[in-house]
């Protein structure tokens, strides 16, 4: 292939394609958003989030919400590709396959961050308690990166299976638990005002997991899409 598009150009093109498709249909982000609001409401009733209990569970509630919404987003983002035959089109394109992986991951990451960016202020508003801090935003950036890195890989497997709707969470949740633990612990630290230097361990750990998961997914992605 002589006219191979450059790697970063290809990534950018895939991200751009996803963003434009989303801008036109708005089904992914709106679905994730409504879903995550519902999850917060369900948590409110099931955990009776009174001010005293809330302090200890806020990080957990936020992360469960993000992760559940993320599953919906990942499933949808890959199912759209699969159903309309776009995945085959993407794979036929004369670009490096891993560029497709990175493009899809980054697009999914952006969608998750958009959802998080709306959930955080809404949560703060609903509970009259400002949860937004630089530290928390940083943790969400890192945590959701690891999540989409492995989630994009697994969702591209799940959509090709017969049982795809139930398969993604079953495949994804046991594997992302390390990321979830580190994210919840670090977020909890920031929310309860633990000084930053006591949380650096969790941040480093989270960064290390991101690197591990991203590189593993990057290495095996070729095997998932080759036909």
């Amino acid at each position: 292939m002589e006219h191979k598009t450059s790697f970063f150009k290809a990534i950018k093109a895939v991200i751009w394609k996803d963003l434009i498709a989303e801008l036109r249909s708005k089904e992914l982000v709106s679905g994730m958003l409504v879903f995550s609001l519902l999850v917060i409401f369900i948590f409110n009733f099931s955990l009776e989030l009174s001010p005293s209990t809330r302090a200890s569970v806020t990080a957990g509630v936020l992360w469960v919400t993000i992760i559940f919404a993320g599953t919906i987003g990942l499933n949808r983002s890959m199912a759209v590709e699969k159903d309309r035959g776009c995945l085959d089109g993407l794979l036929l394109a004369p670009v490096d396959r891993t560029a497709i992986y990175f493009g899809k991951s980054i697009a999914n990451w952006i969608f998750m961050l958009i959802v998080a960016a709306i959930i955080l202020p809404v949560y703060s508003l609903l509970y009259n308690n400002n949860v937004i801090s630089i530290g928390l935003i940083f943790v969400i950036l890192l945590g959701s990166e690891g999540y989409v890195a492995i989630g994009t890989l697994l969702s591209s497997m799940a959509v090709q299976a017969r049982t795809r709707d139930i398969l993604l969470p079953i495949l994804l949740f046991p594997v992302v638990i390390p990321i979830l633990i580190a994210s919840v612990k670090a977020s909890n630290g920031f929310l309860t005002g633990v000084p930053f230097n006591e949380l650096t361990n969790w941040i480093y750990l989270l960064a290390a997991y991101d690197v591990i998961f991203t590189s593993v997914a990057f290495m095996v992605f070729d095997a998932v899409v080759e036909e």
């Binding site: 697994l154 046991p174 633990i181 612990k185 750990l205 593993v216």
Partner: protein
């Protein structure tokens, strides 16, 4: 149909004899632990089964890597067999642990790093089985399960590491020093150590024997699939 290889027959006999020996050793050779009593005897097979579980999942991950490189369905069969056996042994590991924990920790279950990690590992491989069942095309199924065996095997130690950081374990470490918070630790007498050191290789032999049988079974089921296809044609 191939006859059962002679060496496999011998291995079967060795496995049975050594397993009976290990059981006898656990009950009659190893002394009764002074504080915990008879329930401590679960420990020998608990450790051995845990070892076989870890070994199987490691083999499954390695077989996954080799499969992705060589694309030979033989390696998929090895990986799949290892996962099935690993699930069984991890289950034995968790259940024997619970039997021991009930009198010693006064609870069937605690959210201890080791317990939690073992169970999450079990869930990862349940997911592996479900993934396989969800895909019809054999070639694709082999590829995906190889990928998932690798990803799962990398994730499990990270889970353990994460939980370990914030939770001090109450799980005793019998070889080496237990943590200060461990409950139910004990010092092994030489006879106990011998029993343990005998049980682990016995379980490893059992694993090899089971693997061999499972792979043969897989080969037969592949042959049957082919025969069925031939009839349809």
């Amino acid at each position: 149909m191939k006859n059962k290889p002679k060496f496999l027959k011998i291995l079967d006999i060795i496995t049975i004899i050594s397993f009976v020996m290990a059981t006898l050793m656990v009950f009659f050779y190893a002394p009764l632990e002074r504080v915990m009593g008879a329930v401590q005897k679960v420990f020998y097979f608990h450790v051995s089964a845990g070892w076989v579980g870890m070994l199987s999942f490691m083999i499954a991950a390695i077989a996954g890597i080799v499969y992705l490189i060589k694309k030979d369905s033989k390696w998929d069969l090895i990986g799949y067999s290892a996962v099935e056996i690993g699930i069984a042994f991890t289950m034995i590991n968790v259940i024997t642990g619970s039997i021991w924990a009930r009198p010693i920790w006064n609870s069937w279950w605690t959210w201890d790093p080791r317990l939690t990690t073992a169970t999450i590992m079990e869930l990862v491989y349940f997911a592996y089985i479900m993934l396989r069942q969800g895909i019809d095309d054999p070639e694709r199924r082999n590829r995906f399960s190889a990928v998932y065996a690798i990803v799962g095997f990398i994730s499990v130690p990270l889970t353990f590491f994460s939980i370990r950081i914030f939770d001090r374990t109450i799980h005793p470490v019998v070889i080496g020093a237990s943590g200060a918070s461990a409950v139910g630790s004990f010092d092994m007498t030489p006879l106990m150590l011998q029993t343990l050191l005998f049980s682990i290789p016995v379980f490893s032999i059992l694993f090899v024997d089971l693997m061999w049988h499972r792979i043969r079974l897989g080969q037969y089921s592949n042959e049957i699939e082919e025969l069925k296809l031939r009839i349809q044609d």
